[in-house]
Amino acid sequence: MKKWSAGLALMLMFSMVLSACSSGSKDAGSSKEDNGAAASDKVVELKFTTWGELSADSVEKKLADQFNESHPNIKVTFEPVPGDGYATKLTTSLAAGQAPDVFLIGEGDYFKYVDKGVVEPLDDYIKSDSSFKTDIFQPDLLNMGKINDKLYYLPKDFNPLALWYNKRMFDEAKIPYPDEKWTWDDMISAAKKLTKKDDKGKVTEFGFNATKWEYPIYIYLWLNGTDIGNEDGTKAEGYMNSDKTVAAMEKYVALTKGDDRVSPTPQDTETLGGDSSMFMTDKLAMMITGRWVKSDLDKSDVQYGSALIPTGEGGDRASIIAAAGWAMNANSQHKKEAFELMKWLSGTEAQKARSEKGQVLPATVAELDQVKSTEVVDKPVIEMMDYAKKPISMRSANAPIFTEEFNKAIEKVLLDKSTVKEALDEAAKTVDSKIQK
């Protein structure tokens, strides 16, 4: 195996040497000098990256500058990447061994990157650093970054899911706003009243968005006492196709189908610019989504509120936190310094700086409590955190198999190609046979 990669490297070297010749080998020389200079001055160079934050006055840029001021022996460069190119860029740079020392990962990919071994576990660094206490963080958020009993991610920001409602549409239909007593069924019956059609029968205003996005579906399944897979993501039979799952999904799918539908189809949502656009233009009365939607809604004149996600029959609650966490590149040359940077980027000062703009909630306990005491709209959102559970993508490397087959099954049902039961039976079977391979 060693020889194999050596052969490949040789082949690339061949092209490389040629290209070095053609460029007069000027660049190769200068990069060596750089390394030499760095070694003698003992200034360690670090890089970190996020998606978005491209503007010159972004918070992350300022944080990087402040870090450089307080750490004369470290020079950190912030290299943001446009959102829709982040995955490609990170993958390419990891493959070529050029990835930044610290990078940001979304919660959906937490498990995948750890499973491939590209993220450094942080426990040893934390143990040997008495100045840094992880109990400043919300326990749920810290817990999210733990995989197989090791901590890999430090929280940057997070977005709990909550129920968002359009006040104008509620007022017009003379329906009281959602409260903490609402069950899922209460929500659906309100959605029915909020749905409006024109004289041709075309729905003009939808009561609720039964999205194809997995997170709200998982929450609904949990409230019905079921899930699409077992805890460690090794079995689908009896979970994805259990009687409870089938019954719940039949109800869920019915929301988007037929003449008395209360929800747009996924395609309607897409063409109308996403749920937030529909919501802003009074075409959608309720949706379950993350707090990021606020920055969108605040741009329009829509009157909105947030509420707890309704309970299941038995009064139990569930939610998911969408989050982004800092990860240390397992191949970083300067891990000690990289940890210094991570501490700063997720520490109290950084949390304050980010939440000052009101865009994100702070991940630290003290700061979050403060927001809770002043903010009205965010109160239910923050409260939803206490009910957070880990979706299958944060529990197992097999998650993509589960979600792919599950989504395909739901797609079939929406297209009337299959009944819920048949589709889920088949999906469960396929998942299990793929896992066994």
Binding site: L8, A9, M11, F14, S15, L94, A95, D268, P400, E411
Partner: protein, 298 residues
């Protein structure tokens, strides 16, 4: 006339390309060829490449999605390649007329190819919406109830093919440039012989632009089999894998599940397929491609 001086001159003229091939292209191609016999989770870096022999290819031949993506891609290529060529030639002929206002028409027909493919795709998502999109609203004027284009497995691929016709501006440009190379003297001569406009088209235009047709046909095949961006943005392979193009499947393998070895094996199978079709066109070209300048074969 092949003599050693002329031979040397020929080599010198193509030297820039040949150097580029050695420096920039050959290495990556060989690399991916070797990878197709390996297992590599790309994000773990080059050190983790592992030789697995023919395992990737064996797995591919039992892979349902491989056959599905092959089917989708073949249907697309076989329909779209000839269709786009015919449409482009017709429009180019119209645009090649010399009258007032033609400048504006040329500009209009070319404009769609100026927009980045991603923006085009997002625009068409809106157009194809069954309830709110302008396409079905326009059809409704004629009393036709339009289908759910992108959401219906039996229409989605067709919708993408139709959409592609909107963006043939580049091909039109190439045909226009080919038409410009037809010496006017030939038309005049044909007209003197009493040939009608259809005869003139068949006996002057078609042979004279056959090198351009040859070019567009080969590029169409290469491009058609590698169709990606629009499907990636608009349908991501759905509904029910009805638009799972080969390159889309390959991309998912490489950059979503990180199986670069498998993806490389897929890419070399595609390479072989495209090469075969290209060779067929090249072999047949001696029968229909006419070069005014020489009688050499391709």
């Amino acid at each position: 006339m092949r003599n050693s001086r002329s031979e040397r001159a020929g080599y010198l003229f193509i030297l820039p390309w040949f150097l580029g091939l050695l420096i920039f292209t050959l290495g990556p191609m060989l690399f991916s060829f070797v990878l197709s016999f390996s297992k590599w989770d790309i994000i773990t870096g080059i050190g983790s490449i592992e030789f697995v022999g023919l395992d990737n290819f064996k797995a591919i031949f039992h892979d349902e999605l491989f056959y599905q993506s092959l089917k989708v891609t073949f249907i697309f290529a076989l329909v779209s390649v000839p269709l786009y060529q015919i449409v482009s030639i017709l429009i180019a002929l119209l645009l090649n007329m010399r009258t007032r206002g033609m400048k504006l028409f040329r500009l209009i027909y070319f404009m769609p190819s100026v927009i980045p493919a991603v923006a085009v795709s997002m625009m068409w998502i809106m157009i194809f919406n069954p309830e709110y999109g302008i396409l079905n609203r326009a059809l409704a004027w004629f009393g036709i109830e339009g289908p759910a284009w992108l959401q219906d497995p039996s229409y989605a691929l067709g919708a993408l093919i139709v959409m592609g016709m909107w963006g043939v501006g580049n091909t039109i440009i190439i045909y226009l440039s080919g038409l410009q190379g037809v010496p006017e003297e030939l038309y005049e001569a044909a007209q003197l012989d009493g040939a009608g406009s259809f005869r003139r088209f068949m006996s002057v235009t078609v042979p004279m632009i056959s090198p351009t047709i040859f070019f567009n046909l080969i590029m169409g095949i290469i491009g058609g089999f590698q169709y990606f961006t629009q499907a990636f943005v608009m349908t991501n392979g759905g509904p029910l894998n009805s638009t799972l193009f080969y390159n889309l499947y390959l991309y998912n393998k490489a950059f979503v599940s990180f199986e670069m070895g498998y993806a490389s094996a897929l890419s070399w199978i595609l390479f072989a397929i495209i090469l075969i079709f290209t060779l067929i066109v090249i072999r047949s070209s001696s029968m229909w491609v006419y070069y005014n300048g020489d009688d050499e074969r391709d």
